[in-house]
C-alpha cells in the first residue's frame, strides 16, 4: 500500500519547485529588460512566501486520513499555528525593516501631525474662549501652576542641599539659656515622606 504521506510530500515538493522555477524565470526576464544584468537585481518575489513553503505541506500536522487520529492532533495544530504566526512575524519584520516602509511611516506621521496641529490649535482656541467666558482657569494656566509648584519644589531642594552642606547643626543650647531671647536658628528642611505599605525599616549599620 502506498504511503499517503510520501505522496503528499512529493506533490508539495513538485509544486514548490514549479513556483521557484517560475520566480527564477521572472527575475531573469526582469534583469534582461533592465539592461542585460547591469542593474541591481530586482527583489526576489518568492522570498516572502519561501518561509511559509519551507514549513512543509502542513508542518507537523497530519492530513485527515493520513493515519490514525492521534489524540495529540490538537497539540500538533497548535504547534503548526505557532510556526505559522512566527513565519508571518518574520516576513512582516522583513517588510517593516525596509527604507520604503520607514519612509511611508514617516510620511503618514507627518500628515497626521499636520492635521493634528491645526485641529489642536482650533480646539485650544475654542476651549480657551469657553473657559474664559465661564471664568474658569484654562488648561495652560493649570499647567503653569503645576510647573510653578515644581519649580518651588526644586528651590526647596536646593535650599535643603545648602543646609545639608553646612553640616550637622550645633548642639542645642543649655536648658538654662531658654530660647526666649535668642533668635530662632533655621532648622534643616525635612521632607515628609509617607509610608505606603509597611513601616520604616530600621537602618543597618554600614
Amino acid at each position: 500500500m502506498a504511503d499517503p504521506t510520501s505522496d503528499r510530500d512529493d506533490l508539495f515538493a513538485m509544486w514548490r519547485k514549479q513556483v521557484e522555477a517560475g520566480a527564477d524565470a521572472w527575475m531573469k526576464a526582469v534583469q534582461q529588460m533592465a539592461g542585460q544584468g547591469q542593474a541591481p537585481p530586482p527583489p526576489d518575489p518568492a522570498q516572502f512566501w519561501r518561509q511559509f513553503s519551507n514549513l512543509g505541506p502542513t508542518g507537523s500536522v497530519p492530513f485527515p486520513g493520513a493515519g490514525p487520529v492521534d489524540p495529540q492532533v490538537l497539540a500538533q495544530w497548535k504547534q503548526f499555528l505557532d510556526d505559522w504566526i512566527a513565519a508571518w512575524s518574520r516576513a512582516l519584520e522583513q517588510a517593516m525593516r525596509t527604507e520604503a516602509f520607514a519612509e511611508a511611516l514617516g510620511r503618514t506621521l507627518d500628515q497626521f501631525l499636520t492635521v493634528q496641529g491645526k485641529a489642536r490649535q482650533a480646539a485650544e482656541r475654542s476651549g480657551k474662549a469657553a473657559v474664559d467666558a465661564l471664568g474658569l482657569p484654562s488648561r495652560d494656566q493649570v499647567i503653569g501652576l503645576s510647573r510653578q509648584m515644581m519649580d518651588l519644589e526644586d528651590r526647596l531642594e536646593t535650599l535643603e542641599d545648602k543646609l545639608d552642606a553646612l553640616g550637622t547643626p550645633p548642639p542645642p543650647a543649655p536648658a538654662s539659656a531658654a530660647a526666649n531671647d535668642q533668635p530662632k536658628r533655621p532648622r534643616p528642611i525635612r521632607r515628609q515622606t509617607g509610608g505606603t505599605a509597611a513601616g520604616k525599616t530600621p537602618k543597618r549599620s554600614a
Binding site: A66, K78, M96, L109, G117, E157, R204
Partner: protein, 359 residues
C-alpha cells in the same frame, strides 16, 4: 502506511476525554475573564516611600538584608509602569532580589502629564538620579550602592554614572539596556532622521502620547496579539496560567507617555546621533565619560530582543573602564528576560549571585 503504531483505543479515549474536559474549562475560564470587572492585584511586595521628586518616587522594599550594599534599580522611563517587575508574589523580580537579602530600592519615574513636558533626559540623569542616589545612601546608611538598569533605565543610569564619577557605585548591571544605537533594530530604522521628524512631533503634541507609544510597540510585533490570543485559548484551562495572564495584561494595557523634551533628546542624541556610544554626549554641560565607570560590570542581553538587540547592549562592556566585567546572553525577549517563569530560572539567579559575590 504510517510508521508509528496506532495508539491504543483506551489511551486515545482517555486523551480525548482530558482534552474535552480542558475545553470545557477553557470556555468557562474565558467567560469569567470577559465578564470579570475586578482588576488583578499586582505590585504587592511591601515597600515604603523613601523620597519623591516631582513624579519620581524612590521605594525601599521590605526584606531581611544579608548584604551591606544596597541596590538601586532604575527601570525605563515612560512606555510602561514598573509593575512588571513585581507582578505576582511568585513572579516578582523585586520580590526575588529583596528575598535574596539585598536592600532593594526601586526608582519609579511615575506617569507624566503635560506639566512635565519640559523634563529632559539630562534632567533625569543629572538632577533626579543623583538626588535619588544620595537619598538611598542616606536611607540605607551605606557608603556605596549597586546600580541595576533595565531597558532605557540602563542608558539613564550609565549617563548618570558617566557624568558623576564621584558617585560611590560598587557594581553596575545592565539588563537589556541599549547603549550603542548603530543597529537599534526596527525602532532604529523608523526613527532615522531622514524619515522621522521628532521636532515636529514634540512641537505639535507637546509630549509623546501613550497611544502613540502603544502603536509603536504594537507595530514592532504585529502578530503579538494573535499569538497571545492563541496561547490564551490553549492554556485557559490552567488557572495558574490565567492568573499570570491577567496580571501581565493589566501591565501591558497601561502605557505611559514620554515627556516631550525627554523624547526629543532620547531620539536625537541616542537613536539618531548615537552620542552615548561615541562619547560625545553632554548633559547639562557635563560630559558623559563611560571610561570613568570602573566598578564591576555585568551586562545581560536577550537573544530574541527586538527592542534592544544584543550587540547594542553588549557594547557597554567595551566602553567602560572596568576590569571586572562580564557579558551574558540569555534566551528570551526583552520582557521575558526579566519577567515571567523563564526569567526566574535563567536571569534572576545569575544577577543575584553575581551581585551577591560583590556586595
Amino acid at each position: 502506511m504510517s510508521a508509528q503504531p496506532p495508539p491504543s483505543d483506551a489511551n486515545a479515549w482517555s486523551a480525548w476525554q482530558t482534552e474535552f474536559e480542558r475545553t470545557i474549562q477553557r470556555v468557562r475560564n474565558i467567560g469569567e475573564l470577559v465578564a470579570e470587572s475586578n482588576e488583578p492585584a499586582v505590585a504587592q511586595s511591601p515597600r515604603r516611600e523613601v523620597y519623591r521628586k516631582h513624579k519620581a518616587r524612590l521605594y525601599r522594599y521590605e526584606g531581611t538584608a544579608r548584604y551591606d550594599t544596597p541596590v538601586l534599580f532604575v527601570p525605563n522611563l515612560g512606555i510602561s509602569r514598573p509593575t512588571v517587575f513585581d507582578l505576582l508574589p511568585q513572579s516578582s523580580f523585586i520580590g526575588y532580589m529583596a528575598g535574596q537579602g539585598f536592600p532593594f530600592y526601586l526608582l519609579d519615574w511615575g506617569v507624566f502629564g503635560p506639566e512635565d513636558d519640559h523634563l529632559t533626559f539630562a534632567d533625569c540623569a543629572t538632577r533626579i538620579l543623583p538626588r535619588m542616589g544620595r537619598k538611598l545612601l542616606a536611607d540605607a546608611d551605606a557608603d556605596a550602592c549597586s546600580v541595576v538598569g533595565y531597558c532605557m533605565g540602563s542608558p539613564l543610569a550609565v549617563s548618570f554614572l558617566g557624568s558623576h564619577p564621584d558617585f560611590p557605585v560598587r557594581n553596575l548591571v545592565n539588563l537589556a539596556g541599549p547603549i550603542d544605537f548603530e543597529d537599534a533594530g526596527l525602532f532604529g530604522c523608523w526613527l532615522d532622521r531622514r524619515h522621522f521628524d521628532v521636532d515636529k512631533l514634540v512641537d505639535t503634541l507637546g509630549q509623546m502620547p501613550a497611544e502613540m507609544v502603544q502603536l509603536g510597540f504594537k507595530l514592532l510585533r504585529p502578530t503579538m496579539d494573535l499569538s497571545t490570543g492563541l496561547n490564551l485559548w490553549w492554556n485557559a484551562w490552567n488557572d495558574r496560567y490565567l492568573e499570570g495572564y491577567k496580571a501581565l495584561q493589566k501591565w501591558a494595557s497601561e502605557y505611559v507617555p514620554f515627556p516631550g523634551e525627554f523624547f526629543r533628546q532620547w531620539v536625537t542624541d541616542f537613536y539618531q546621533e548615537n552620542r552615548l556610544a561615541q562619547g560625545t554626549l553632554r548633559l547639562n554641560g557635563r560630559p558623559v565619560d563611560l571610561e570613568s565607570i570602573t566598578c564591576p560590570l555585568l551586562v545581560v542581553g536577550a537573544r530574541e530582543d527586538n527592542i534592544a538587540p544584543p550587540p547594542g547592549v553588549k557594547a557597554l562592556v567595551d566602553l567602560v573602564g572596568s576590569r571586572d566585567k562580564k557579558y551574558m546572553e540569555l534566551p528570551g525577549g526583552h520582557i521575558s528576560l526579566i519577567a515571567g517563569r523563564s526569567a526566574s530560572r535563567d536571569c534572576w539567579p545569575h544577577v543575584a549571585s553575581w551581585l551577591g559575590a560583590r556586595s
